[in-house]
């Protein structure tokens, strides 16, 4: 019950990145919002996994954690001019 509540709170943190996605103003801000959402999703999955006792969710969280840097890395490596 309390874990459900915490998972919902972590989801709210994931959602709270969306306004920054809209207002920007720079491309770096938008990638930063995606990064925060990724961390929030990993936390949400950990809490959901603990609440439901399903270890498969920890695997999903691990996959997210392992790949969380790829989008940011692609942004830094490929994007050389600010739009």
């Amino acid at each position: 019950m309390i874990l459900d509540l915490l998972a919902t709170a972590a989801l709210v943190a994931t959602l709270a990145a969306l306004p920054r996605l809209v207002v920007g103003p720079t491309a770096a801000d938008r990638i930063l919002a995606a990064q925060l959402s990724g961390t929030g999703t990993v936390a949400t999955l950990l809490l959901l996994g603990a609440a439901s006792g399903a270890p498969a969710l920890f695997d999903v969280a691990l996959v997210f954690a392992a790949l969380s840097a790829i989008a940011g890395l692609a942004f830094v490596a490929l994007w050389r001019r600010d739009p």
Partner: protein
Amino acid sequence: MSTAFDILVALGGLACAGIALVAGNRIGSVAAFVIMGFFVALAWVRLGAPDVALAEAAIGAGLTGALLLRSANRLGPVREAGVPIAVHGIAACLSLALAGGIVWAFATGTAEAVYPSLVAARVGESGVSNPVTAVLLNFRAWDTLLEVAVLVVALLLVSGLAPVRIAPAPPSELVLPFLRIVVPVAVLLAGHLLWKGATAPGGAFQAAALLTGGGLALALCGLLGAGRRTGHVLVLAGLGGLALFLAAALGAAILTGGLLDYPAGSAKVWIIAIESALTLSIAAMLVSLFLGPSEGVRDDR
């Protein structure tokens, strides 16, 4: 309580989709699309489909974002006065018709699920205990073979179109500690998911996506794919998986008389062998799809 969570997940996904469509800024759209993938994965988790959530996490979180950012970089900023209003209208009508059709199908169709009981009855014969792997690699292995063939066709098409190959420079020396930890862990995790796929959520596609993530991390830091030889090796590895799958199909046909009908008792060995080859080849194909063909290497800046 959980209802609030589910509603938030659904609203978050819809909000991201909306932002991705109207952002008017390519990086914003890509970032919104990546975040939508997070919510979609959470939705699959809540729907009790961790296999699909794993695939969405692996493909959506890392690879699609990197691929779209690569394209966004090639296309440059959005030009004003893009799509005419009529196109918007047609798209809206089509979307509404599709949404209406889905609602109608759910409202009138029978809720009876046909496949779970059929799969559960025969899963013991498949050699694995995870029903998803049993369907993908045994009962409907033909579908999987054709899906791998589709990837090969995509790779051939990209080679034919010959986009400019990317050759990023290392962004900073501080990426080296990051690579030294994340790439080996990604390889280990891929092996873990591949092996676990027989009994629990996991499997070849998810493992391949993780390996691809490691490969993309190396490529984006300028440590993979600089030379022409890497490209050839990747394409050969990609074709090798399909060749091995076809050889397994023919071998099984000779041994048992049915195409992809594995000999009784040794089904698990066949499945693990095919999945291992597929993992390597799908990862090689995805990485070379991202890098572009091996011809015409030049600096993309």
